[in-house]
Symmetry: C2
């Protein structure tokens, strides 16, 4: 089966919000045996929505739209589908009653314009929306399907998982695609490409190489009649790739630096605490985004004001001598938080996130220190990264995690 994905909304076309829906849907189609070759975005404009919808329906078995199902005059997806099929909309009494009950339950006034969300056409049946007022449309005629879902990602994903994906799975006939990504560090994209050159001609699994903020990713995609067979093809290819890339591979698929490092801490029964200033809580936030992080993460201190560093055990003499933005202060922060929060390992981060320089140090200068408390070797790292505030924070948090990984790997090597 072939599908196209269409996102509808002027706010997308003007770049005011980022389209995450298309990626979500696209990532779920291969496992259903559905190929997607194009995605499109179009504004809240009836004639252009009709044009894109018609072309997509002509060339595909399934067309999936998100957006344009709200109650306002700008919400035109229903009108566009009706026009493509040459059918008239009518008010569905049951859907209308559901909308009335919904506003009763929520204690909000019922507005006539909401009734647009109770429209149907003869070829459409409504798709339940568990998280919002607008039902989706499942439109089927002449062997072609149009699936219209609401734009808010929370509503769309729930509708997809509970209503749309199970229905599409029933109709799936062709081969399924299974993908797996190997994540590497320490090798550039051209070197990975050259190292794997003998494998790159493979069609099944196919292999793609992509540069990412956390290193170069190698994606394998295998097609087979069943998920098991596809997975077997991937398993075989993974062995060959790992032979060529060696320890450059640090993780697969949804693994992050943070989750792999967390697993290393948990397996060795070590606990971690962090004191951060320029990252402002981001490192703690990323650590605690990993489910199960409470096994190894004691907690953190965001020492934004210099005085807070001292209140939390950093020696004022170190700050006076070396400045807040220094390796020495980072090391003192790591030691202090390890001590204060009774952890095995402490991380300290201090730097200049901007927009203004500090102590004559440029925006983007960051110092990271790890206090291993005798269980790991102490580490430190200084770098300058000249981009915006949030990128500096993110880069610093990633570097801190990479430094901790290196310390853990080194002590493993030393122990073995």
């Amino acid at each position: 089966m072939k599908a196209e994905i269409i996102s509808i909304g002027t706010e997308l076309l003007l770049g005011e919000i980022i389209d995450t829906n298309s990626a979500y849907i696209a990532s779920r189609l291969p496992a259903l045996g559905i190929d997607v070759y194009y995605q499109h975005t179009v504004g809240d404009n009836l004639s252009r929505a009709i044009e894109v919808l018609r072309r997509a329906r002509d060339n595909n078995d399934v067309v999936i739209t998100t957006g344009g199902l709200g109650p306002t005059e700008d919400d035109l997806t229903r009108e566009a589908i009706a026009a493509v099929l040459g059918e008239d909309v009518h008010l569905d009494p049951e859907l209308a009653e559901g909308l009335r009950q919904r506003s009763l339950r929520q204690g909000t006034p019922f507005l006539e314009r909401t009734l647009k969300q109770a429209w149907l056409i003869p070829s459409a049946r409504p798709i339940t929306n568990a998280r919002g007022s607008a039902p989706g449309w499942w439109v089927e005629r002449d062997g072609k399907v149009i699936i219209a879902m609401p734009g808010p990602p929370g509503e769309m994903t729930r509708m997809w998982e509970e209503e749309v994906a199970p229905e599409l799975l029933k109709r799936s006939d062709g081969a399924v695609l299974v993908t797996r990504t190997l994540k590497t560090t320490g090798m550039g994209e051209p070197l990975v490409d050259e190292t794997l050159s003998q494998l790159l001609k493979s069609n099944n699994p196919s292999i793609g190489i992509y540069a990412r903020p956390d290193g170069v990713h190698v994606r394998m995609g295998a097609k087979a009649p069943t998920q098991d067979e596809a997975r077997r093809l991937i398993d075989e290819m993974e062995v060959r790739i790992r032979e060529l890339l060696g320890i450059a591979v640090w993780g697969t698929d949804n693994e992050t630096f943070m989750s792999t490092v967390g697993e290393m801490l948990a397996q060795r029964g070590l606990t971690l605490a962090v004191m951060e200033s320029c990252t402002g809580g981001l490192l703690s936030d990323e650590i605690t985004n990993v489910p199960g992080s409470s096994r190894y993460f004691r907690g953190g201190i965001v020492s934004y004001a210099t005085e807070v560093k001292e209140l939390m055990g950093v020696d004022p003499a170190v700050i006076a001598r070396h400045g807040v933005i220094s390796n020495e202060t980072a090391a003192a922060m790591a030691a202090a938080v390890r001590d204060r929060l009774l952890a095995d390992i402490g991380i300290g981060i201090t730097g200049v996130a901007g927009p203004e320089s500090q102590e004559g140090k440029p925006v983007g200068e960051v110092h990271i220190a790890i206090d291993g408390g005798g269980k790991l070797a102490d580490q430190s790292l200084t770098f300058t990264f000249g981009q915006g505030r949030e990128q500096i924070k993110r880069r610093a948090a990633t570097q801190a995690t990479m430094l901790l990984r290196r310390a853990l790997l080194a002590s493993e090597g030393a122990a073995s």
Copy 2:
């Protein structure tokens, strides 16, 4: 001028990464007087890339592509453009030398395959890439322009700002579009729509209404020969909208809850400290994403382990009596962090981010407390929000900010 945006990459088509480039470019075109009606995404497939490129070039003055300029066999954008124009690629000696110098500087081995990035066609001139190895292509023939930029957002945005946007601005002839967004809270989308119904027929400025996680947004877009004239149209419309929506409007454009609340704190000379457990540092992270937050933010404690709460001054008797997940513990956290970090106001957040329930409390139950230290009235809030871990964290941080805003507004009202 009319433009289309094309993103090229199988990893986009499979939903493995989210396309932020299209939104970035789209958001910058209106101010250059360039209209965009469609965006497309296509995989690393030569014939499909050619098809989409050709159609876009036929229907527009400018086509802007991102992705597919890397050194690997999959990187096909150059080949696709050459095919659309019927021109042959050649190796540009100067670009090739630049690539060699680059790998010398970086101390990485020079690989022959990298030379693909030194290709040109007769109608193309290279666009400098200050952050990566692949130059862009500025392709001009028969009065039409194709601009090809690399996919990594850091490289693309720098190239856009320094090379592409200034060049496009020179050619801009038509009317410019200026947009402004008013952000509201406390009113649903249908009610905003109905309240503004008399204005919605306006064509210039046009008005769009969008439901967002932080409330309903009202976007105005005005076209005029100059930015000043467009801005004047927007100013007039803003007055009329504000009259109708009143205090529901809390901010505009890039203002966030966090930045508006921060400004309120700064203006009243109040300082803030937070102790968070289930949000794990996210609240501190969001507070410190606002430039200038050091004026009012003292710092935070991420008390992930219960023992850390007690080490940081939360009375163990309160936890023993009411449990960690309780209003009382949230209030004790707020008081303790206000006291420890010498701030005027303290916020405490405790809850269950999941995946497992805790103390018999369900995943998603969150308690937030504000200790106003006599300067604001104390506040507390409990809610249960049944979605994933990261959404629960984000929702809790947003709710905490909204609670602080309410406390600040209330004390203003009391003072006036």
